[in-house]
Symmetry: C3
Subunit: 295 residues, 3 copies
């Protein structure tokens, strides 16, 4: 595997293999065992041009658990302040000795550009409103470990789909794995074109779902929190009560409690949010291992 810029690079079989490998690494971590240091002597550079806690630390620990050296670029103290172009900064870090780059950027397509500029293995850590491939993979790992199958799972993707890079990766992944998707959002937040079912009425849809996947309202990318959104789309205990008995809740975090999810539902045993985060490091280990060996 040469980098991971988009989940569209992975066919259904590759997706399933990657998910099972990640799940196996999760088991190994749960047993308190160390992974073989297969990236020993290699260098993973974390280039987070947007603030991030969970994704950056998750990649960092994943790389360390594989034995890699980790370099972290802190954009606030970088040469950007000396007027260097993004391309020159990235080429410099490549020349310093990075073997793999993890790139997050506010603009769509930057990870792709970094891969073209450097020829290195690049993992997309989230670009603009475009994609966030490892988030979609870890979500699939979470569903796999919970349901032990994918076929026909009915997933409702609820919320600010238009501004969400999570959705950009999640929709193709879940769809290729054989799940049945419904986009649920106010009119303006539904994708313009989609082969999947859409709905503006969460209450009508919710009893039919196995998975309620809530998206964060992306206020930093133009999403706006309104009383009408909260009233019609917040997952609160009334809506939770109408969910199927085995249905679960996912959210990519960080959660806006009181917006897309109520406080008590965030704490509910139906939420797999903590499982999602737990599966982040093993999923990223599986990805870094796959791209770090060949690059």
């Amino acid at each position: 595997m040469k980098g991971l810029l988009s989940v569209r690079e992975l066919g259904p079989d590759e997706l399933r293999t990657m998910i099972k490998e990640a799940s196996g690494i999760r088991d190994l971590i749960d047993r308190g065992e160390d992974h073989e240091p297969v990236l020993q002597g290699r260098c993973v550079a974390n280039l987070f041009f947007e603030p991030s806690t969970r994704t950056r630390l998750s990649f960092e620990l994943a790389a360390k658990r594989l034995g890699a050296h980790v370099l972290t670029l802190n954009p606030a103290t970088s040469s950007g302040s000396k007027g260097e172009s993004l391309r020159d900064t990235v080429l410099t870090i490549a020349a310093i000795g990075a073997d793999v780059m993890v790139v997050r950027h506010v603009d769509q397509g930057v990870p792709q550009s970094v891969a073209e500029w450097t020829g290195l293995a690049v993992v997309n850590g989230g670009d603009g409103t475009h994609e966030h491939p490892t988030q979609a993979l870890l979500d699939a790992v979470t569903l796999w470990r919970h349901f032990e199958h994918f076929d026909g799972l009915r997933v409702g993707l609820v919320g600010d789909i238009a501004h969400s890079r999570v959705a950009g990766s999640l929709v193709p992944v879940l769809s290729r794995l054989g799940m049945d998707l419904t986009m649920v959002a106010p009119e303006g937040w539904l994708p313009a074109e989609t082969p999947h079912r859409t709905s503006t009425d969460l209450d009508a849809v919710i009893p039919e779902l196995d998975v309620v996947y809530l998206l964060r309202v992306q206020t930093e990318r133009g999403g706006r929190i309104t009383d009408s959104y909260i009233g019609n789309f917040q997952l609160d205990e009334h809506r939770l009560a109408r969910m199927s008995q085995d249905a679960v809740i996912l959210h990519p975090g960080p959660m806006n409690r009181g917006v897309e999810i109520s406080d008590d539902v965030a704490e509910s045993s139906r939420s797999l949010v903590t499982e999602q985060v737990r599966n982040g490091v093993p999923t990223r280990m599986a990805v870094l291992r796959a791209v770090g060996w060949r690059s």
Copy 2:
């Protein structure tokens, strides 16, 4: 040992054992030997929600010398900016894979809350004006290595006791180890209730002390530097000259030179300040080792 939130968790025997272990690790470091990597594969997360150099780097090096992976949360670039609650941030980092958390926060009780939220081993790295347990332990290690006994040592704690978390941990530690404490401060900075002797007259007390422990005026926590404080409480060469011949000076740092201590006294051979810092890493290694094994 399940975390270290307060020194009050440690009885006199446990304190003495911990201090001797830390001193042994200090010897090992001084001989240029490596500690066994007993925390290999484990992850220590440094959550410093307040700026810190010495304590953060000291914990970081301690964890690395034990073979642990270290994750450092930089509050300035964290998801806090996306409006996530402290509890959600902490639960996320726990789920990423932290085995031990070191927590510093401007508010009292946050390390305790983190321990309750996560169930992890938490080491208090300083909370509000409450406690700073590893500082008190490393101070005790420093006194142990210097005097080779504790019983009856006469210690004067001088300065902004009211706003000091160092005092909050130091007083119970030194007292449990059998030392004789005097609190020396202007009226407003003395603790409201204390079983220990108090004084507002440093000059009267100073000849009787074996240890003069100076506290930093905590301007960031409401302490105010006044000419009257400097005149009556600064340890300058005149007061140094009136100290007992074998008496020593401690300060937790960073020092406000020209406030609680004069420039020349800060440089005096009677000061054990550098020894205190040197004992920081081995003390934190002893603590992390104790809590990291069981967690």
Copy 3:
């Protein structure tokens, strides 16, 4: 070797030895092999009191490839905000357990002061407009690997020489290695006194050079970008066409494209800029290895 504060500490033979060692480490890295962890258990502290990407990450990876623990001081979140003096901060980090310090500071002479205060091995990572020793060494490594000899190479140092610490180290290094130097700059940017040839006319000089070493206009240190400078000194394709056929271009980075170098020339195959960066880590490994063993 006890630290590296100035290249003037190194005679011609020591320079040649260091350069060959660095080049050998570069070969080892290119073969994908690991260096022996000769600094295992030792601690390298990176004290960058000025923002830096390339130099900081380069030293960090160099130290890690030698097996050292790395502590990085982030000046923005340090105790400097509590009013501690630079000397106290540095002494504290030494006492925490640094064996080697890499120091960058806006003021000339700070690395020297740090060495005097701490007695540790200190590597100058760039001080004011004074020196930047490892930059000069890696430049020499780059020339060595390209030309396979030094004697008589005609090097033109072009640009803001007056404000450049790179020049401060480069001139003595290249000169001791037997190269023939010409300083090329507008009147105000030429050094006041120099034993080397000077010129204010790049076009007159350029056909005679084997190496065109471009300096960045140091706007942050008083350098001013003018149309006249760009017109008379920018290396553009017209000037490139007049360079000798085997002549090469170096630049310490970050490049101000459109100022001292045009966009297309920056991309030219005659540029060794990427090679310079690639030689940074092995050069710093050679230096850290030399100073870390003895300190």
